[in-house]
Amino acid sequence: MDLTVKIGSLTMSNPVGTASGTFGFGEEYGELIDLSQLGAIYTKALTPEPRPGNAVPRLVETPSGILNSIGLANPGVDRFMSEKVPFLETLKTSVILNVSGSTEDDYRKVLEKTDSLSCIDGYEINISCPNVKHGGLAFGTDPRQVETLTASLRKMTDKPLILKLTPNVTDISVIAKAAEAGGADAVSCINTVRGMVIDTRKRKSVIPAGIAGLSGPAVRPVGVAATYTVSRAVSIPVIGLGGIMCADDAIQYLLAGASAVQVGTGLFVDPQLPLKVSGGISAYMNENGFEKIIDFHGFL
């Protein structure tokens, strides 16, 4: 039985990674989970400059989900190099750097400074960020912007380039095709869903920033639907995520067409979850006589 997954030139040891923003740069969870058994670590978003993040509270629980507005809090690329890279260099696990920005240039700057690092095995481009040059609408909502951005980054790196799609669009398949046309090696979906919670006592949004991002099991059906739609629109691999809380959930994504999955919010409930999920996927493959991850595809 072969659990490996190929994304561009990279081979991950198994399909289960940790979702960006929920696992930091890997260090914090190191005491709780054997990092070497992860298929991949998708890091917290990195921007050229350090970002302090948004005002608090940044989190609120919703029915079977959480709403967050962290505000891309991260140390910036320079402190990343000095503070995070030494640890990442000790890992054998695939490390995918999640990159964010407010302009195309921001993304380029991060790639420029990090492309030569051997501990970075690929990039996941977070296009849910508002593009300040285009009236603040997220990059990921406009197929032309997505294609241009992808093509521009494609020229800068041979490492796997994964475009991370937002579900907050009319037709996610159009965006996925744009990423493919721009030269992406894969797409991942979904990023968080737009949501809001109001404190009726204080009569204001619980999260000061207002509209924020919904994740967790509440949005799993949304992620599975997006994965299903996207995997029928493109021929590059799709990485599925959103609300995975057990192996069965991950298997839904694989059957929907994903080649790999990520565990995000689920980690907060059970730090061991990624390993349980990959164990459960092997067990399912065993029971069903599947040899490779590709055997999950084509049933729907």
Binding site: L59, E61, S64
Partner: protein, 261 residues
Amino acid sequence: MKQFISQISDLQSVAEGYYRLDFQWLIDTVPRAGQFLTIKIGNSTSPLLRRPFAISSFDASTSTASIIFQKRGKGTELLSVMKPGDDIDILGPLGNSFSRIVSEEDESKENHIVVAGGIGTGPMLYLADELKNNGKNPLLIIGCRTRDLVPYSVLDNSINTVICTDDGSAGFKGTVVDYMRSNPGLDSNSVIYSCGPEPMLKGCQLFADETGKSSYVSLEQMMACGVGACMGCTCETRGEKQYARVCKDGPVFAGGEIKWT
């Protein structure tokens, strides 16, 4: 820190809406005052996140730890109806603890004033206990709205304790800060530790600043990971837009580090 499944050894109401939960501490690391743990309550997806609670006592001889919690929402409601023998999923110990933050100078001082309010009571009972075991003679000041909220049954007679109630139904009538202000005997060479509602923490900090005392606070914030990975639980610190993670850099901070708003 480790994740482990433990069993509840006891669960008792200790004041109106407050409970003390004792459980087996199944790992080697000894939890310190100020540290906390998170509990996954139930196995539904709602409540979803693990809930954080500070450790309120630890008995090494029986490997029993406890928390004191208030019934607030559905998570603590479910927790309050659990039974001895039931499994609970614990992740801990988390956070830094008072012992890791308090300066050597402050540690060596004579007077230690431990101020607790509401859900901050648990960790402060433990801190008072720790100070006593380190040969100090701490003064524990507990602030409550009213008498029914005072957790008498978990108080240690050997610790010098003052109860303050807003309505005067027990002990001193007034806030903990009122009490400290009305006792000018507390010399400036004291250290104040506080945990509780934010106005109380701010009050303690202000009082410490005014009277030249050292001040440490233990903060609370909505948490997701509890281990420092998600950047969800930050508090603003001195300096331009600087944030610290309450779960990992805290929950205990030197009061002067925090940007009070």
